[in-house]
Amino acid sequence: MEFQEDLVPKYWYNIIPDLPKPLPPPRDPPDSEFSRIELLKRIMPKEVLRQQFTVERFVSIPEKVREAYINIGRPTPLLRARRLEEMLRTPARIYFKFEGATPTGSHKINTAIAQAYFSMEEGVNHLVTETGAGQWGTAVALASRMYGLESSIFMVRVSYEQKPQRRTIMQLYGAKVYSSPTSLTEYGKKLTSQNPDHPGSLGIAMSEAIEYAMTNGYKYLVGSVLDVVVLHQSVIGLETINQLRNLDEEPDVLIGCVGGGSNFGGFVFPFIGAQKGTKYIAVGSFEVPKFSRGTYNYDFPDSAGLLPLIKMITLGKDYVPPPIYSGGLRYHGAAPSLSMLIKEGIVKWREYNEREIFEAAQTFLQAQGIVPAPESSHAIKAVIDEAREARVKNEKKVIVFNLSGHGLLDLPNYESMMKRMS
């Protein structure tokens, strides 16, 4: 008999050696006064940095990390959306991987656990990061607690004030949550002296977190975009492959939403590596049109310009996204590996607007009962379109998507969307 736990993989999957072309390396901008790659070395845990540049196809998951995955409820469920199939009257079979079932409500915890573990192993006692809407900060707060580490989270001031529930969760886990810009860093002091009511931004929070980590000898954790984060997230796709095998299902279409690309890459790349599936769809926001309007260029992953340039599909680091509800999809770029796969036509993309997303979310939650995160609802919209197409063509294909998070902390957003739609 196979136990649920056996479905949790012992290795992470790294797509770098399986890409069609060499992945362009990170680099410094012309006339740079300092080396950003050297900066990475100072702020990131050593093993995390090694994994960032590894070209091994499979990277062993330390037993203690695997135990932590099981402890937070991995494998997360792979559920069949039967009611949704019925509502859409589609011959397609629809499955979803429910990452919202983790304690922090999204996939973010998968890499936070790994990075916190490696930090602890290296004798680091304090972790620092930034957070916008709060998903990533929550994951770092919990992961730090699991390994007995302190954590400091720089939360963008507007979110700090508008999303007090997220702040409360982080504080319950034992994190120190700061409203960024703060007076803890030189950068923050400079900004608040110019404008005491500065609303903050993700770029500012990130700069503060990096400065704070460097000044105090703490380590900084990265939440998306970088290859190492996509590597850790591969636990999602690897589990799903095992779960589908147990159901005797062969997937045809794999779908995920894209913020920085870590939930998409984590879910879909293992399928690409195993040559399973025939169609891979990355879904972005119409309001943040990186796939349709972005260019494939070297750009900064962070708006502060502190990290090395990476080659990716990007709207430019200074792009100011509109205030859409899917905070996680407002990011200007997409992970380099995913960007290349899109450029090469191996991964297809879609973009949907907020109204379509809201309708899709409502269809899904009325069918399956789960309130999806607005970000994940982008994947749902693509699933619905694929399922409808299957109905027209009478194809019994198998559609699998990643429900990267639940939306129970996004209810105020849903509420204002309902008002707008009525």
Partner: protein, 241 residues
């Protein structure tokens, strides 16, 4: 095989020529010379410092290259970014051949010109120059195999993402993997800067090493004599002592 890198004109014109001869006397089999580029896109901070110093002195690149060529008889390969020469590539290659340079190595060939790299290799060869190809761990296996067959003199394998920054990597496993793909001579560089790293690389199957950053750091610390002494030490490791 010991491949020694020098930044053209570093630390100054006279000492550059002393260094050049010294590195050959110390047992370098091939010299790589890098003129300061407009954009040192894949270079680390140490090499960049050397570029900055040379640029502030302002030499005639071609005159100095000619002097370098006349000073030593080992093969000289020019290490430079293709991107910079594309508008004048033909002229550039003719001039190199004319002064007796043996080959070129474009570190950005497989990164920024992946779709047309074979045409550039051909262009270099048509001008009577050797084309040494630069690969790295992120190059997919089939491409490493292909590039290895195409590369003249040896295949250059840079193990770290940027020169001279000791990003933690496992040198052995990287080289063991690439060794199985490469029939050509394999020269490993980009951040191999201590003797232990070098021993590991050779044990894992490298035929040679390329040294650059370590010399420049040594020059900063103790001048060119010190760098030449370091080359002797590396030669010793290669010869099994």
């Amino acid at each position: 095989m010991l491949v020694s890198y020098l930044t053209l004109g570093y630390p100054n014109r006279e000492q550059f020529l002393t260094l050049l001869k010294g590195l050959v006397d110390a047992g370098s089999d091939v010299l790589e010379i890098g003129p300061p580029p407009k954009y040192a896109k894949y270079d680390g901070p140490v090499i960049r410092r050397s570029f900055k110093q040379v640029s502030s002195q302002g030499y005639d690149m071609w005159a100095l290259l000619r002097e370098a060529r006349d000073a030593v008889s080992v093969p000289i390969v020019i290490l430079t970014y293709l991107e910079e020469w594309i508008p004048t590539l033909e002229d550039f290659l003719i001039k190199l051949k004319d002064i007796g340079i043996n080959g070129v190595l474009f570190p950005d060939l497989l990164i920024d010109f992946i779709d047309e790299y074979e045409e550039y290799v051909e262009a270099v060869r048509t001008h009577g120059l050797k084309s040494v190809i630069f690969t790295s761990p992120s190059v997919p296996d089939p491409l490493i195999q292909r590039a290895s067959k195409l590369s003249d003199m040896f295949l250059y394998y840079g193990v770290r993402p940027t020169t001279g920054i000791a990003i933690p990597i496992t040198v052995e496993s990287l080289i063991t993997r690439v060794r199985t793909l490469v029939e050509n001579k394999l020269v490993v560089g980009f951040g191999l800067s201590d003797v232990e790293d070098m021993r590991r690389a050779l044990k894992a199957g490298a035929d040679g090493v390329a040294i650059g950053t370590a010399y420049i750091e040594e020059i900063e610390r103790g001048g060119v004599k010190s760098a030449i002494a370091l080359a002797r030490k590396f030669r010793g490791v290669l010869d099994g002592s």
